[in-house]
């Protein structure tokens, strides 16, 4: 928030000043090279995804000598069940986002608002949970899942995803509730609202900016997740895009379908990229303004 405001001020007060810009030139060059490389990489992949294998092999993807080949996308989408992976990921990401917020927000609220025995240990527990490597916990989780015979189901994967996001989400939202004034609750209490109703009706909506930011984060985390799904979702109908894309890649590489391969890559990165293009301010302020303190 703070950074954004400053940006705007600058834009208003600064006319073009050649001397100052010249001083900044080395900076511009360094950043521009990096940015150009990134954009070029993405553009090349996009172009390749509309080309044919021989064109890619010859390194002539930007010529489009044989025209565009959108059929690469059709092949990638259908033949190798990228469509299934895509829809699975969408489902997992949305459910996790909602589930984690609904469970974490109340917890964050009471942790930030009330002092009670166990408050501090719980907070530090969440912090530890955030820094524990995943391989510490997957083996027992797997054995529980096998004993309960719930392995290989979407439900299990969503449960794990939600659980994995809770420490981060709770810690993140705690700062938001901390900054809300207590007068809201006092007013609500006078109106006869119970504390729980107060939370859902007043405090939860007030924390909306934080909730949206953390929601986007969870969405991206789940969309880009790999390790957990590799272990808990190896069957194709429940696989998300991460391991799914890897299996498609091996197969397309094997059959020499380079166009389809790059189309599959584009299909997987496009949703998060679009989300990012529209919400980049929000996301960036989420990274930096977040409540995560090491």
């Amino acid at each position: 928030m703070f950074g954004k405001k400053k940006d705007k001020e600058k834009k208003v007060r600064e006319p073009f000043n050649p001397r100052k810009e010249a001083k900044l030139l080395p900076g511009y060059i360094i950043v521009a090279i990096w940015v150009f490389f990134t954009i070029f990489l993405l553009l090349w992949i996009l172009a390749a995804s509309f080309s044919t294998a021989p064109e890619i092999m010859k390194g002539e993807v930007f010529k489009f000598a044989t025209g565009l080949h959108p059929d690469n996308y059709i092949r990638a989408w259908q033949a190798n069940s990228i469509s299934t992976f895509f829809l699975n990921s969408l489902l997992y990401a949305v459910v996790t986002m909602v589930g984690a917020v609904i469970i974490s927000a109340p917890a964050a609220y009471v942790l930030s608002r009330f002092t009670f025995l166990g408050n501090k240990p719980i907070r530090s527990g969440f912090l530890i949970a955030m820094s524990i490597p995943q391989i510490m916990i997957v083996l027992p989780l797997m054995s529980i899942a096998i004993q309960l015979d719930i392995n290989g189901s979407r439900g299990l994967l969503m449960f794990l995803y939600i659980g994995m996001q809770i420490p981060y989400t709770t810690t993140f939202l705690m700062t938001f509730f901390q900054n809300l004034s207590r007068t809201y609750e006092e007013a609500a209490a006078i109106d006869g609202c119970t504390p729980m109703m107060t939370f859902w009706r007043i405090m939860f909506p007030l924390a909306q900016p934080g909730i949206i930011t953390v929601g986007i984060f969870i969405f991206m985390n789940i969309w880009n997740e790999y390790f957990i799904s590799l272990i808990f979702a190896s069957s194709s109908d429940i696989m998300p895009v991460g391991p799914g894309l890897k299996s498609v890649l091996t197969s397309m590489q094997y059959t020499g379908d380079w166009g389809g391969l790059f189309a599959a890559v584009v299909i997987v990165f496009l949703p998060t990229l679009l989300l990012y293009i529209f919400l980049s301010e929000k996301i960036i302020s989420g990274v930096t303004g977040g409540g995560i303190k090491g």
């Binding site: 909602v98 290989g152 059959t255 020499g256």
Partner: protein
């Protein structure tokens, strides 16, 4: 603006939760939509092929015929070569798999704890009589005398070369080398003709080293050295490395070798390189992958001076089906597996992917690999894959990396030996 966004998100969430409710209820038993009619019974088969490969087409055809006959629908998940990284986890996790396939050695060695002993099933004895003895013996030896795998698509290993290029280099059938010295002469001639004599993929360089070392001392001794980490005291280990280095120094390897799979083998399809040491699926893979239409010749890895093994010893193997012991359709899975491994479907598999027919009663070899047939018939000693150099998970990546460096010319034979001795 923000309100709108939240309401969109919430609606999406509601829809998703409902979808999740439906989704997870049938999550356990695979997708329920595809079994229309029939007995309603279903079997899940994880396949090592990609859906677009010719093997997949034959298998799909067989699966359709099987459903027609028995009413049992087979859900096939085409996993491709990722199988080897996935199957251990999946079986451990109790995934709903009745049947899967992979290299038959891996099937038995890595996963036999999860597999059903086939002798408990009906028709196993009859099936055994259709399996090549050399394959059957191997499979049983890994399974402590029991058969855990239904082998199919048998392969043999040797040097495959592009016949046109071979002729262009002034070579004939009679020039097929039998000794390492002759092999080097052949390489020189191909090099003189302007091609790279040899290429290889980085994931199969162990074949070259394994073969060369086994030519000196045989598989038994190679394995002994491998298991005891006794590389420094085995002269053949150094000698084999020096031989490979000699090929490298003479420029017989493609400058790109060893390349990432499948880029190395594809060099033959692109007309850049001539020979590759690999299994009999190579001609088909190269032609399919590069849309080339090459004719392939074959000769066994040459013998060496003072060595014990020659053309009579080769790596043979097969792909194989394993049947999950947790499956309640073991017999059905076995019937389907044997349907592919024997009879008409075996023949069809052999002819459509140019592989060796695995049923002993099918004796007709596809033309594309026919060059290997006489050698295969005379083979008396069977090596394991990579002469057993890939049987230790903690060591295989190390030896693999060091052979890659040797072929890239990044390390000398002495460095090679000290690197792998230090590792064990």
């Amino acid at each position: 603006m923000k309100k709108k966004l939240v309401s969109v998100l919430l609606t999406a969430a509601m829809v998703a939760t409902m979808a999740a409710g439906c989704g997870s209820s049938d999550g356990g038993s695979g997708d329920g939509g595809s079994d229309e009619g029939g007995s309603g019974k279903e079997m899940t088969y994880w396949s090592m092929w990609n859906s677009t490969e010719s093997q997949a087409k034959v298998i799909q055809e067989a699966a359709d015929a099987y459903e027609e006959e028995t009413g049992i629908h087979i859900n096939i998940e085409w996993k491709g070569r990722d199988m080897k990284t996935l199957i251990g986890t999946a079986l451990e996790a109790g995934e709903d798999i009745d049947l899967f396939d992979d290299d038959y050695m891996r099937v038995v060695m890595n996963t036999k704890d999860y597999l059903v002993d086939l002798s408990t099933l009906e028709g196993e004895e009859e099936f055994e009589s259709h399996v090549m003895p050399v394959i059957l013996d191997k499979a049983k030896s890994w399974g402590d005398g029991k058969l855990y795998v239904v082998p199919y698509q048998v392969y043999t290993t040797g040097v495959w070369y592009n016949k046109d290029m071979w002729e262009e280099a002034g070579l004939t059938e009679d020039d097929k080398p039998t000794t390492f010295e002759e092999f080097k002469e052949v390489c020189q001639k191909i090099k003189d003709a302007g091609y790279n004599p040899l290429t290889c993929n980085s994931d199969s360089v162990n074949l070259i080293y394994g073969f060369q070392m086994a030519r000196y001392i045989g598989q038994e001794a190679v394995l002994e050295c491998f298991n005891n980490g006794d590389w420094a005291n085995e002269p053949a280990a150094l000698q084999a490395a020096e031989d490979i280095a000699e090929l490298v120094d003479a420029g017989y390897f493609s400058p790109n070798a060893p390349a990432q799979y499948p880029d190395g083998q594809n060099e033959i399809g692109f007309g850049e390189s001539c020979m590759v040491l690999n299994a009999s699926w190579i001609p088909n893979e190269i032609n399919v992958n590069t849309q080339a239409d090459l004719e392939f010749g074959f000769f066994p890895w040459p013998s060496v001076e003072g060595g014990v093994d020659g053309a009579e010893a080769s790596m043979v193997g097969a792909q194989g089906y394993g049947i999950n012991k947790e499956s309640d359709m073991q017999q059905e899975a076995f019937d389907f597996a044997t349907m592919i491994a024997t009879g008409d479907y075996d023949l069809e598999m052999a002819s459509s992917v140019n592989s060796i027919p695995s049923d002993t009663e099918n004796t007709e070899w596809p033309a594309a690999i026919a060059d290997a047939e006489p050698y295969f018939k005379e083979m008396t000693k069977a090596y394991d894959w990579a002469v057993g150099l890939e049987t230790n998970a903690d060591f295989t990546p190390i030896i693999n990396e060091n052979v890659v460096k040797l072929i890239k010319g990044e390390s000398t034979p002495d460095e090679f030996i000290s690197a792998i001795s230090a590792a064990q």
